[in-house]
Symmetry: C2
Subunit: 339 residues, 2 copies
DNA sequence: CTGAAAGCGCTAACAC
DNA sequence: GTGTTAGCGCTTTCAG
């Protein structure tokens, strides 16, 4: 740093203390005259306060760390936007870290954030297993909030959606349309979101007494390729499904690719329903039916929770919050063709 | 923070200095024995070094600030990924800030980043006009790199693509297909990218002696709605264009919406070519032709430049780097129908 | 209303 | 090899 508070003080003919108080807007701590003089000096010198120094003294950085699995996933894009906006408006900064869905990385990042003295960590875990550093962080008074996937055994805030219910209702909708041969491409079961989405699907079938064909249940990895391959397998079956429920956005793209390649008609030959809504789902042919998650709000609510938790000095007990999903019915789902 | 270096030192029976040296891996500064003892103590105490304190002393934070216009834009998503990955591998952290394409906000954010003592700022400006704080940052030795839009009068690094050339070539391709009635929906001219894309389009027409119909040139704002409206205007013309070139991803979505609404055939009635490639352009009907920008690499190269610049203590002169675009021809562009 | 002094937790000369 | 000392730039009692 070039110019320090000391220099401002000197030039204005006051002490550092006074300058500090004025900058921090402590009421009744300086005469209007002094305030004016100091303000002008700050202006003249282009003085920029050093928040790092202040942080060291106050033991508070007004910085929050965020660990996500993949910044490039549009779902996280919206979540991050919600977090960043909320935090920024409250005067906080965001340190963003991408774990590539790698657990070792997650651990390392949590540690790095601790070293940087973040006031809180918002974390989108890639699996349900709790990491060691997160617990350490929580133990030392660094507020922790989970988003998307939950880690039930960690007693910290969590913001997500009711994946079971969303999945259950979507499946029910498909059944009501008349489908009996329903397939699902799920995400990896080690994620709470994935396993809940699968459970919802299965549970709906069960409740409607539809036998579960194991060949119709495929575990993907949330990537485009995986959606493509699983779909090929599914439509290659002797008796293929008439409805396909896909657990995330990327796999849905892969699925569409496979379906177009085989020149199957949607929804004539097969109905398609995806988890995660994308802004471009309205311009595919046909427009895609999907379950929308309030991604921005997940971020916003998580950030608000963390802020509240900081304010209350961690005296608030952990909350598990589930936001509402919405089933968006467009044109990719319809009754199965009569045979 | 709970446990400090002092406590580690005490418990291990050495001085802070020794602990510090061991943590920083200064060679030949402690006996293997001491190192071992200290390491074990650190482990036992779950000691986490306080980088904020170190930063204050060293006047280097190993943190870089990034200001983008909209985190949710998938283009920036990829750019951010490139930056984050590169920085992380070099041991740097990223403070992410979203300006909502607002210039006042940009200024404010630059200042906030300065206060936080970032070692460098990577900035995706929303207009060509240079801000005051960025100059101040640069003057104080904070390295500055621009991405996407350039601000020519600022003597700092810039990484982007040759928008003029990309646009020129794409237009040329459309003309070679036989189109004579070409329209373009541009972005706001106050961005260097937008105006260069427009210039490329116009220049290609000129070079092929195709008269420029002003009604065929529409200035959008890079949003979905804007793409939709401008396209409606265009296809509502008495003599509508046979080819439409759209300056970004979001407006392309809007354009598609308008075209489907009017039940026009692509590319039969109108050819569509967009700037920015998206991973889902292969599953629209027809798959969309587009100009791909190496978004991840733009981020990576910008981050590498900033890192290099930090290493060389700013003795490197500013570089303006243009990465290669690629014209991806899929199915939304074809020769105009004979009339 | 204002200032002096004592650190926040760490690093970096400078000694020994 | 290791320790002592003096800060980095700011905030915060405590005095007046």
């Amino acid at each position: 740093m070039v110019v320090t508070m000391e220099e401002v003080a000197e030039k204005a003919g006051v002490s550092k203390t006074t300058v500090s108080r004025i900058i921090n807007g402590i009421p009744n701590s300086a005469s209007p005259d002094t305030i004016d003089r100091v303000r002008r000096t700050i202006e003249e010198l282009d003085y920029v306060p050093n928040i790092i120094a202040a942080s060291l003294k106050k033991l508070v950085t007004k910085t929050i760390g965020l660990i996500v699995g993949d910044i490039e996933n549009p779902f996280f894009g919206a979540v991050i936007k919600g977090i960043e906006t909320t935090l920024r408006n409250a005067g906080y900064n965001l340190i963003l870290a991408d774990s590539s869905y790698n657990m070792d990385r997650e651990e390392e990042l949590a540690r790095v954030l601790l070293e940087r003295m973040v006031d809180a960590i918002i974390f989108a875990p890639s699996r349900q297993k709790p990491g060691e550093w997160l617990q350490i962080a929580s133990d030392r008074g660094v507020h922790v909030a989970l988003i998307d996937n939950d880690i039930p055994e960690l007693a910290v805030d969590h913001v997500g959606v009711d994946n079971f219910k969303a999945s259950y209702e979507a499946t029910q909708y498909l059944i009501d349309l008349g489908h009996q041969k329903l397939a699902m491409i799920t995400g990896p079961y080690y994620r709470s979101t994935s396993s809940n989405r699968k459970r919802g699907f299965l549970s709906a079938l069960e409740d409607r007494s539809i036998a579960i064909d194991q060949a119709f249940l495929r575990e993907g990895d949330y990537g485009i390729e995986s959606g493509y391959e699983k779909t090929r397998e599914l439509i290659g079956l002797d008796s293929p499904p008439t409805a396909l429920f896909i657990a995330n956005n990327f796999m849905t793209v892969g699925a569409m690719k496979a379906i177009y390649e085989e020149e199957l008609k949607i929804p004539g030959d097969i109905s398609i329903l995806g988890f995660d809504d994308m802004y471009w789902y309205t311009i595919t042919q046909p427009p895609l039916s999907a379950i929308a998650q309030p991604a921005y709000d997940i971020g916003r609510v998580a950030a608000e929770g963390v802020l509240r938790s900081i304010d209350s000095r961690g005296k608030a007990s952990p909350k598990k919050i589930e936001l509402k999903t919405k089933l968006l019915i467009r044109k990719s789902t319809a009754a199965p063709r009569e045979k």
